[in-house]
């Protein structure tokens, strides 16, 4: 009786009447939204299940890195940055979100190959849930960030109210890049190690641990070409300087996010039919 009540409306799958792959994928994602929630809660639960410190690892990890970097850079290199700890911690929080979500978007897809070759699920669910997991972790790591900022005497301004928008743009950018990586990873088995190298280079091309002022004049173009520079600045400036960044910073960030997301979505869905043949 109960089972009969749960029967859904008749579903018809006709391979000759499929909408555009991107639209089909978005509709399927909406339908499988509970799977997204399951994936996010699964990865958060399994990450902390066997560790004593549990959820505090999310907060502790960037904190420890921050302490080491602060010691190294402010005593050895004598960077003249006021509140260098807050500067570096906010950069690390953003960077670890970007690097972990994009890697996970690609990795989860590869590790789920076995599953994908047996049952139908919208394949972008792995990339989207990687972003979702990253967002939960990011929000958790904002707590120590704000505590430290307050502790070190950073005065918080109303400008920090723009932070959610900055995070949203960053998440969209990461999703787009993650989808592109996931597409590449299915065709090239060595994409994961290659991306790790790219990430290391990319991190040093982004002003996370060094202040922008130390970048020599002739290398500034590297920063200007790096979307992560803009996405990081629109997050960090409101907290660190208490000002809302220029409109140009926002526009470039939004442009990068939209281009990455649209390109990632189109390429991923146009190739998604080939996954089952490859993995």
């Amino acid at each position: 009786m109960l089972k009969e009540r749960i029967r859904l409306a008749e579903e018809i799958y006709d391979s000759s009447k499929r909408p555009h792959p991107l639209i089909e994928e978005i509709l399927a994602l909406v339908k499988y939204k509970d799977l997204l929630v399951q994936f996010v809660s699964r990865s958060i639960k399994t990450r902390y299940k066997r560790s004593v410190l549990g959820v505090f690892w999310t907060m502790l990890n960037p904190l420890l890195t921050m302490i080491v970097l602060t010691l190294v850079f402010s005593s050895l290199f004598k960077f003249e940055v006021k509140n260098y700890s807050v500067y570096v911690l906010s950069g690390l929080v953003i960077w670890s979100f970007f690097s972990s979500t994009t890697s996970a978007a690609m990795g989860e897809m590869i590790w789920s190959g076995n599953l994908l070759s047996r049952i139908y699920v919208p394949k972008s669910v792995f990339a989207v849930s990687a972003i979702g997991t990253g967002l939960v972790n990011l929000v958790l790591s904002l707590i120590p960030l704000f505590l430290i900022a307050l502790f070190l005497g950073v005065r918080l301004h109303l400008a920090i109210l723009t932070m959610p928008l900055a995070i949203l743009l960053l998440a969209a950018f990461a999703l787009g890049i993650g989808l592109l990586l996931a597409t590449a990873a299915v065709f090239f088995a060595d994409m994961l190690p290659v991306y790790e190298v790219i990430l290391t280079i990319w991190m040093y091309a982004t002003p996370i641990i060094y202040p922008i002022e130390v970048v020599p004049e002739h290398l500034v173009w590297v920063l200007k070409l790096n979307p992560m520079y803009y996405l990081l600045e629109i997050f960090r400036e409101p907290l660190f300087e208490g000002i809302i960044p220029d409109a140009s910073m926002w526009l470039i960030s939004a442009g990068a996010a939209i281009i990455a997301l649209v390109l990632g979505g189109l390429i991923f869905t146009s190739k998604s039919n080939e996954y089952a043949y490859r993995i």
Binding site: L2, Y13, D14, Q38, A276
Partner: protein
């Protein structure tokens, strides 16, 4: 079991006559493109691409396959290894898109392929049930309503809050079957999985499948066991090198195939 199915046919006949076929294959072909030499790395690919040396070997796993299956039928697919049986199930399950031809599947589909594949060892049984139901497209609320009946059928009530890594193979298989069949699907895809757990549980699984079929579920079975096919199916298709070699009454197809 033959008699059981024979008697079912009468009850399902009227349901069948006025509805369209549940599974339709129209000239379905599936081509795999296998790189002649395995190119797995980016560097290798770039070198080969520059040298224009990437060549693919085409392999047709299915070639121009057409058939229809009506509501309530149990349809067997037989053939040697590599004949395209699993590819056919994957096309039905939407996992593979046909290279050519058209596939129409009417109704809610449940794949019963290698049970328990979506389980996570670190999560407890309860969490795994929710995760797997979500993988099959059920919402959290729907799963909550079905939860007790799933646990009861799998007979793992006392272990439901233990991590899955502590389960025996039989328990995992039982939970997998219970999840996949928690709601009567319109189409059930079965790939060599009738050897679940002990004999008693196998009986239970067969009973459930029989009762689904009586209520109008269409079942497609791939098996190497001719006994399973002959016992369970009323129609069968013999695939050979991706093409239909014979199709029709199960006994005729099985006789031809075993000759």
């Amino acid at each position: 079991m033959n008699t059981l199915i024979a008697s079912n046919q009468e009850t399902t006949a009227e349901v069948r006559s006025d509805t369209e076929p549940v599974i339709t294959f129209e000239g379905v072909s599936v081509r795999y493109r296998v790189p002649q030499e395995r190119v797995s790395g980016i560097k290798e690919f770039a070198i080969r691409w520059l040298q224009r040396r990437i060549s693919y070997e085409e392999f047709w796993a299915l070639k121009d396959v057409s058939f229809q299956v009506s509501s309530g039928e149990v349809f067997g697919i037989v053939g040697r290894n590599g004949a395209g049986k699993s590819t056919m199930l994957k096309v039905m399950a939407r996992v593979l898109q046909p290279t050519a031809g058209r596939v129409v599947m009417r109704g809610r589909l449940a794949p019963l392929l290698e049970l328990g594949g979506g389980f996570h060892p670190e999560l407890v049984g309860r969490e795994n049930v929710y995760l797997n139901m979500a993988l099959l497209g059920y919402s959290h609320d729907q799963t909550a309503q079905l939860f007790d009946s799933i646990v009861e059928f799998a007979e793992i009530r006392e272990f439901i809050d233990a991590p899955l890594r502590t389960y025996s193979t039989g328990m995992v298989a039982r939970l997998g079957f219970a999840v996949a069949t928690s709601v009567r699907p319109d189409i059930l895809l079965v790939d060599e999985v009738l050897s679940v757990g002990d004999t008693r549980f196998q009986e239970k699984c067969l009973d459930r499948m029989n009762s689904f079929q009586e209520q109008g579920t269409t079942i497609a079975i791939v098996s190497h066991s001719m006994a399973t096919i002959a016992d369970f199916c009323n129609r069968a298709l013999w695939l050979d090198h991706g093409q239909v070699k014979a199709m029709g009454d199960v006994n005729e197809v099985v006789t031809q195939y075993t000759q």
